[in-house]
Symmetry: C2
Subunit: 654 residues, 2 copies
């Protein structure tokens, strides 16, 4: 009930443009005046507030971030400028129904955050931080009253660390980014065909033979769980079974339905190996393993994967599976997987956890307390909800599909597919998770694939449903992008380092001019161009540096829209001409470098094409090249091509 009320309140009060907050709060009421943030700034809990050490650590971190944001050394004055009124310490293990709401009140003397627990307090501090700006009278925060709470309780980021390993510092800085945009579930995809990344003391051959030495020790995992908890983030581990499990089978081939030996998979796609549901030893193993993992991951949920079992190895098995199927009266491999899932669910439940799995696990034979993660479409989520299952949406949030924030932003867990659901059914849709699969990313460019796009999805999952203005989202996303930089995310800094590598010592300008308007191809495009990609293929080329959702292409597109709407807009015209001239001349500037460096060998066609279509548009001509440029160019896409095509179609010189 409350949720609906808040949404209505929000829809009724159109928000002013200047609130650089993301995700947008449920309710903002502007006040009079401004709170100054000076060197005497100090933050601390009110008398009687919770003494939870999480809270004091969060306050310390926030003070350090404010010092960094403003470039001031803070000399905490006696008066608290930011006062935290926090009722309690919160739950021992952060849960799905824990209160995350807060109220932030700022007047010209003080800011106060009131919250039930450290979660709300941390969210409130992130909002407060985002409101700090430098104005004509210095650093400060506008007077305001914000009442805020999330629309969805489950707001996650999944990271695949199997296909390419991600070192701890990558995990930590991404947790920092998550906290900044109020995401609260880190879904850690710890095993897959290409690598088993978790230390097991019970079954050490898992990491010894399944990881190339790239795994997290149990101490490291405890550290990450604690780091996440400190930031209001739950950690849900995923160990994908019975398929996507080749890396388990290297050390423990006896778990498989087919004969070994097995090697770590070095390529991508769906493969045949799967655990054998007919063998009791498999469940004995999983019982011991899940028990061991449950002692490390305190979260109430445990993700067992369950996706993309092709059933081939089961069909080919002549040893135990045929008799087992006959015995149980199973007709298909689906029955077999349902049986497997039922057994695993019992184990997970035995260790006090609720089972989560991809939508393939959905089966009436499973109890209703499991959670379905939908990657195959919003429909499977609605179907599950209708059948009484809780679920979260990931279909539409796959970052490796390289879609722009504008598109990701509008995907709603309660979108049109959910319209026909009743209230109770809708309530089963808990939220969503951004997914970062790691076929084509490395520790170097993973940040640029996640950020800032994940922030747009974070807003979808937190803010009222009515917050859907794409241009407002982008305006704020540009601001948050800088905040994420300052937090230590490397979506911008590693982009420059990668361009420096590509350009060597000759200056990156012409290369950056090109790369700025390119976008990497999605999974399918890259596989199509180069079917030989493997785990060891260097991800060091132009396509790997190029970033999704080119900001320059977006700004140029807006410029073109302005000009098309008003062809007498001389400023737009002159700006368009400047860009086209830059691009038309860029191939010649880049040529010497491309000839000299093998690592730039695939830049040549796209560089020539950008120059060619820019020259056409400058001359007010169109041509087949422009149509070609709208399509993939090798592994990349020319993000400015659609806007250039619109211009060229006008037939005007620039």
């Amino acid at each position: 009930m409350l949720r609906t009320a808040v949404v209505l309140l929000f829809a009724a009060t159109a928000l002013p443009a200047q609130w650089n907050v993301m995700p947008m709060p449920s309710s903002i009421q502007a006040g009079q005046g401004r709170l100054t943030i000076g060197q005497e700034f100090s933050a601390g809990p009110d008398t009687g507030s919770s003494a939870d050490p999480r809270l004091s650590r969060a306050i310390d971190r926030m003070s350090r971030r404010i010092a960094k944001l403003t470039g001031m050394t803070l000399h905490e004055g006696s008066q608290k400028i930011l006062l935290l009124q926090v009722q309690g310490g919160g739950q021992a293990v952060q849960s799905l129904d824990e209160d995350e709401s807060y109220r932030l009140t700022v007047d010209s003397r003080q800011a106060v955050i009131a919250a039930a627990n450290p979660l709300g307090a941390m969210h409130g501090m992130e909002t407060f931080y985002q409101l700090i700006a430098n104005a004509a009278d210095g650093w400060g925060v506008p007077a305001v009253t914000i009442d805020d709470r999330p629309r969805f309780a489950w707001r996650g980021l999944m990271m695949d660390v199997s296909r390419h390993f991600m070192p701890l510092e990558v995990i930590r800085r991404n947790l920092d980014g998550m906290a900044a945009v109020k995401l609260n579930v880190f879904h850690w995809h710890l095993s897959d065909d290409q690598g088993f990344r978790m230390e097991s003391k019970r079954f050490p051959k898992l990491q010894q033979q399944g990881s190339d030495g790239q795994f997290y020790t149990q101490d490291e995992v405890r550290g990450i769980v604690e780091y996440a908890r400190d930031r209001g983030i739950r950690v849900v581990p995923e160990f994908d079974i019975p398929g996507h499990s080749t890396s388990w089978l290297v050390g423990y081939p006896e778990l498989a339905a087919g004969p070994g030996p097995y090697q770590i998979l070095r390529t991508w796609g769906i493969t045949d190996p799967a655990m054998d549901p007919a063998r009791p030893e498999v469940y004995t193993f999983l019982d011991a393993f899940i028990g061991e993992m449950a002692s490390l991951f305190p979260d109430a949920y445990f993700h067992i994967g369950g996706d993309e079992v092709n059933g081939k190895q089961w069909a080919a098995n002549t040893a135990d599976i045929p008799g087992f199927m006959r015995l149980h009266g199973f007709k298909t491999e689906h029955d077999l997987q349902a049986y497997f899932n039922q057994q695993v669910e019992k184990i997970v439940t035995k260790y006090g956890r609720r089972m989560e799995g991809w939508d393939e696990i959905l089966n009436p034979a499973l109890p209703k307390n499991i959670v379905i993660q939908s990657w195959r479409g919003a429909k499977s989520l609605s179907d599950a909800a209708r059948q009484g299952y809780q679920g979260i949406l990931s279909s539409g949030y796959y970052l490796d599909h390289i879609e722009p924030s504008s598109k990701l932003y509008l995907v709603d867990p309660l979108g049109s597919q959910a319209d026909s659901l009743g209230k109770n059914e809708q309530a089963r849709i808990l939220g969503g998770e951004v997914c970062m699969w790691a076929e084509y990313i490395s520790e170097e460019n993973v940040d640029s694939r996640i950020w800032p796009r994940a922030a747009a999805i974070a807003e979808r999952l937190w803010s009222p449903a009515a917050v859907r203005d794409v241009s407002g989202m982008y305006r704020r996303l540009d601001v948050i992008d800088g905040e994420l930089d300052l937090i230590g995310l490397r979506h911008n800094s590693n982009y420059r380092l990668m361009l420096e590598r590509l350009a060597g010592s000759d200056g990156i300008e012409p290369l950056a001019t090109l790369a700025d308007v390119l976008e990497p191809g999605a999974l399918g495009q890259r596989h199509h161009v180069n079917p030989n990609y493997a785990q060891s293929t260097p991800l060091n080329r132009l396509v790997d540096a190029a970033r999704p959702d080119s900001a320059i292409a977006r700004h140029f597109g807006e410029l073109v829209d302005r000009f098309v709407a008003n062809p007498n807009d001389a400023a737009a015209r002159s700006e368009i001409s400047r860009w086209l001239t830059l691009w038309a001349g860029n191939n010649a500037r880049l040529q010497p470098l491309m000839e000299k460096r093998q690592i730039l060998r695939d830049a040549a066609p796209v560089s020539a094409m950008l120059a060619g279509i820019s020259a056409l548009a400058l001359a007010g001509r169109t041509g087949p090249d422009i149509q070609t440029a709208l399509k993939p160019v090798g592994e990349v896409n020319i993000a400015v091509a659609p806007a250039i095509a619109r211009l060229a179609a006008l037939g005007r010189r620039f």
Copy 2:
């Protein structure tokens, strides 16, 4: 003898331009062909090489850096591509006379580094790394034979962590930078009037009352000493006495010659407080303190500062000093300081260390085994050498004077002042140290004050004296700048973050256009403009972001030189016109931002001035503004002003 031979060899063989190595080796002989660096690259010690764990750690670090440089995951092949032949493990405590030479031989099959110990091996690996480049046939290193050894044994970087504290990560990344350019002494200026940064367990009030809580624990210091040793770097601690010691006196006022109580000094300059040379308790204290520090810092040298004692507190003392001076027959405060230094020298010697101090400590009463660090001029160094003292040069290497690399580069410890010295006297000049005083730097911009300029001085201290070509130095410095980026130094990345802070969310382009051609004022200029600077003054303004030795100003200056030499050079003319147009229009673009943000309040005059003189030069006119722009503008300087003035003087339109 060898040193001279190597210098002659170098002078005889003019080096080809393509060797992007810094510091330049003593001898380079190009070979035939090229060694490919692919994913199978592997480095390791030869059979029979030293098993020193420092060596294997250095090899691991280098492999990771090569992976990062090339963007490749390395899959170490069975054949070692880089083979290390290292005779022994080196000395237990790295010493001044330890052999740092190496020979690097690269052919199309393999690279071999031969060295007496891990120091030489590490230097050789840095050279090897710098030679890796991407060419038309991929990553590789040209075939070459390099014989290399340092010209000077003492090649240091001093960091003042007292006036502004530098966190451990700043120290660590700067040690990484030092190792990359073969600097081998980290001189840690740990105490001064403004802060006592070292934990003492014997005298805990030193850090408790003298540091604002910003100090290094003994464990942290041990960690840094080990980190440095692992990179071939000695750590020489400095505790500045008897002056520059206010921070000691806060907790221990009884050490002072004048009455307390004392407060940490919050401003800059020379102050009166000094330890009391007449009180035996002072030496008891120093004996215990130096003994404690000697157990933490294994280096053979111990720096006692000794600079800038103004003698006022001694002169004003009526309690014990007058009688003490009469007793000893001392005439002046200099006699008193000489006595103090003699006593301290005995203590330092008692703990097995050699005393080092700034040139004020030079006095015939001190034994000849001390080392003089000259900050007051090359003459004091020569004088010391003539008197039999060893010394190192820092005069001319003060980074806070904000001089360009071109000037720093040509300062030679054996410069003209040393011409009149005999061979043995010259041999007493051990090398030099770059000094980074911290009045006007923070942990955020310290890297941009040190790097890349320190690399130019590193070359002076390592390479043969004949290597003095400034344009070649700059060409290589531009390359090393990127290497330092990749190592993790933040001279470039924090520059951008600081500009983002200044610009807020509105895009940094116009601000960067301005900042790129500005240089911060030196110590004196900043003090003159703002005499109220204090330790807590935020270092977050344009002057703090602006960097010494503007690369764009340098390139523009070269362009102007080209055009002046050949006024028919149309390309130069067009490029000049492009720059002047950019600058002439920049003030208008920056105006809205400057009006909106207090933090940019001091940008207005310099922005207007840059635009004004650029417009004049475009119009082929000169005027008084151009003369004004050659002088300081508030706390900054317009680095392109001299080149613009040269252009304007031509009276030609652009």
